[in-house]
């Protein structure tokens, strides 16, 4: 099923003409941002130099670090009064990345979500439980408005209170759920404990963290759903930039809205279809926050063989990162952020170690910390106060509950070369 058949199946010359036109417009829009204006001037390239889609290679790359330097509104290409919503996402150090949306941006985003939902067979007959965080995380409001656009009955359940979530699924006759794959696993377990088989369920939309085909089979069997992978990031509105169709053999990118490339993350050389590298995205219709050749850090490849559904080229499911970013319970965390938080706390000593584990299908982050000797008063309650202070500081910055272990002096490894302070013990996939 199609939401916007013309756009979804646009290909060949017609697609390329549209992409060239929109890329030029995006460059002009980006020139409202001093960072891009200077960068384009430095590279002596402007909208007029784009005549065919391959000309995108003349444009410079943008990284998350660049975005961070613009905190808070340095990357907005429109006056603030035209921005109707702000989301933020984790930055590589300290400050978050701010993403702004105009009214048109929000409309375009909901359109893409509506395409995704319709593509996997959902209609206004469906009841949809959106079990993701509704705050600054884009997955909540993004899917919410897209599902309303389709006309689905939307339950903005958010996360947590799993037993209530399961009661709602049964009582409201929920047919489709959107959540992280790890939360889906948790839902399945609690449903089993409660003795319900979630009979109304048929569709599961899972994203925000990498998950394997093994997990897909387990979730489909336990929840009785057909599971679809969702891809996106706040810099491309949020989720929904690419999505699996019923073939479930890669995720269709919406090529009228995003120009995608795959590069070798080391050499920045552009790679051909089927070659794995870092995904680079240029959004084509963004107003508030246009981006040029944004390096996502996600590793994938382009699958350009024809898909029976009739839509354009897909990307393979994300297999990893080109940087050290961790995805913990769907939240992106950079080790540098953790370090930044800890360094601001005078009680924390120079050494710490971060461990990421998966316990009962949920990600848990634990940090071992040596506190500075001068902060040891001899009182247990003072140590507990320090422990709480560290936990709160991490939660405030990372939006993540962490376990903090105070450990004895000189018990943590000392590094001579490059410190390896983060140990991900989850294996590659859920």
């Amino acid at each position: 099923m199609f939401w916007d058949k013309e756009m979804e199946t646009l290909g060949g010359r017609a697609l390329e003409d549209l992409q060239v036109k929109r890329l030029r417009q995006t460059i002009r829009q980006a020139e409202n941002v001093p960072f891009f204006k200077d960068l384009l001037k430095e590279k002596s390239v402007s909208a007029e130099d784009i005549n065919k889609i391959q000309d995108v290679s003349r444009l410079p790359f943008t990284t998350k670090k660049d975005l961070q330097k613009g905190y808070p509104f340095g990357f907005m290409a429109v006056p603030k009064k035209e921005i109707v919503r702000i989301h933020t996402t984790s930055g590589t150090t300290g400050k978050p990345t701010v993403v702004g949306y105009t009214r048109n941006d929000l409309d375009n985003w909901s359109e893409l979500i509506a395409r995704n939902l319709t593509m996997v067979g959902l209609t206004d007959e469906d009841t949809f439980q959106n079990a993701v965080n509704y705050g600054l995380f884009t997955g909540g409001l993004g899917f919410h408005y897209g599902a309303e656009k389709v006309g689905m009955t939307v339950i903005p359940s958010g996360t947590g209170n799993t037993k209530r979530q399961i009661e709602m699924i049964d009582d409201f006759g929920v047919t489709a759920v959107h959540c992280t794959p790890s939360y889906a696993m948790h839902l399945a377990e609690v449903a089993e404990e409660m003795g319900t088989t979630l009979d109304t369920f048929k569709t599961g939309l899972f994203g925000a963290e990498p998950w394997s085909d093994n997990t897909r089979r387990t979730l489909e069997q336990k929840l009785g759903v057909t599971a679809f992978d969702s891809y996106g990031m706040s810099e491309m509105y949020g989720p929904g930039a690419a999505f699996e169709c019923p073939e479930r053999n890669g995720l269709h990118f919406w090529h009228d809205s995003f120009l995608i490339e795959i590069i070798d993350p080391e050499t920045e050389e552009i790679l051909g279809p089927g070659e794995c590298g870092e995904l680079v995205v240029t959004p084509l219709v963004k107003e508030a926050m246009p981006l040029i050749r944004y390096r996502t850090g996600d590793i994938t490849c382009i699958l350009d063989d024809e898909c029976p559904c009739g839509r354009g080229p897909r990307i393979a499911r994300i297999t990893g990162r080109s940087d050290d970013m961790l995805v913990i319970r769907g939240i992106n965390v950079f080790p540098s952020q953790i370090e930044h938080v800890l360094r601001t706390l005078p009680e924390v000593g120079d050494q710490f170690m971060v461990y990421v584990d998966r316990i009962n299908h949920l990600d848990e982050m634990a940090i071992d910390i040596e506190i500075k000797k001068e902060f040891f008063s001899g009182e247990l309650k003072d140590l507990e106060r320090i422990q709480k202070k560290i936990i709160h500081a991490l939660r405030d910055t990372l939006n993540l509950r962490t376990k903090v272990n105070l450990v004895e002096h000189e018990s943590l490894p000392r590094f001579e070369g490059k410190a390896k302070r983060v140990v991900d013990r989850r294996g590659d996939v859920i």
Binding site: I371, K373, F376, S377, G378, E379, L380, L383, E384, Q387, N405, L406, V407, E408, H409, E410, S411
Partner: protein, 144 residues
């Protein structure tokens, strides 16, 4: 009366809650021929504080710090109790009536008497009240 005479230096040692840590502390003190009169362990999530009353506090603190433990002195008082029913009540009621809070406490039963070690919120006032009401406080010099 000099209240300072009754302020005893307890050694507080930070320790992870895992096997072998108390043994490591005890071994270090044995090596220095330091006798432990009393000790207790207070635990929180994953870590704790080992509290020790020893015969030679300064050398004990130095030794533990030298082998890497995070240590500090904490002021406590020690009072002899009658080792019979009502012994603890005699002491506790003095503090209770004086509105002095006991933050923590532990006890040992020695050859002559039972001894209660107390960490209180207002140590000097506690010493005055207790000596004033005839409690038998141990002097700090006993622990040097």
């Amino acid at each position: 009366m000099e209240t300072d005479d009754y302020i005893i230096k307890q050694i507080s040692v930070f320790s992870e809650n895992k096997p072998g840590r108390l043994a490591a502390i005890a071994k270090a003190l044995q090596d220095e021929k330091i006798n432990i009169f009393a000790f207790s362990i207070a635990e929180a999530k994953g870590f704790g504080v080992v509290r020790l009353l020893v015969d030679k506090p300064e050398p004990a603190l130095k030794k533990l710090a030298d082998i890497g433990f995070m240590v500090s002195f904490t002021d406590v008082i020690a009072v002899r109790m009658k080792d019979e029913p009502g012994g603890l009540f005699d002491i506790a009621k003095i503090l209770g009536e004086s509105e002095i809070n006991i933050e923590y406490s532990y006890a040992y039963s020695g050859k002559e008497a039972a001894v209660l070690i107390l960490r209180v919120d207002r140590i000097k006032e506690a010493i005055e009240k207790m000596t004033g009401r005839g409690a038998d406080l141990l002097k700090a010099e006993m622990f040097l």
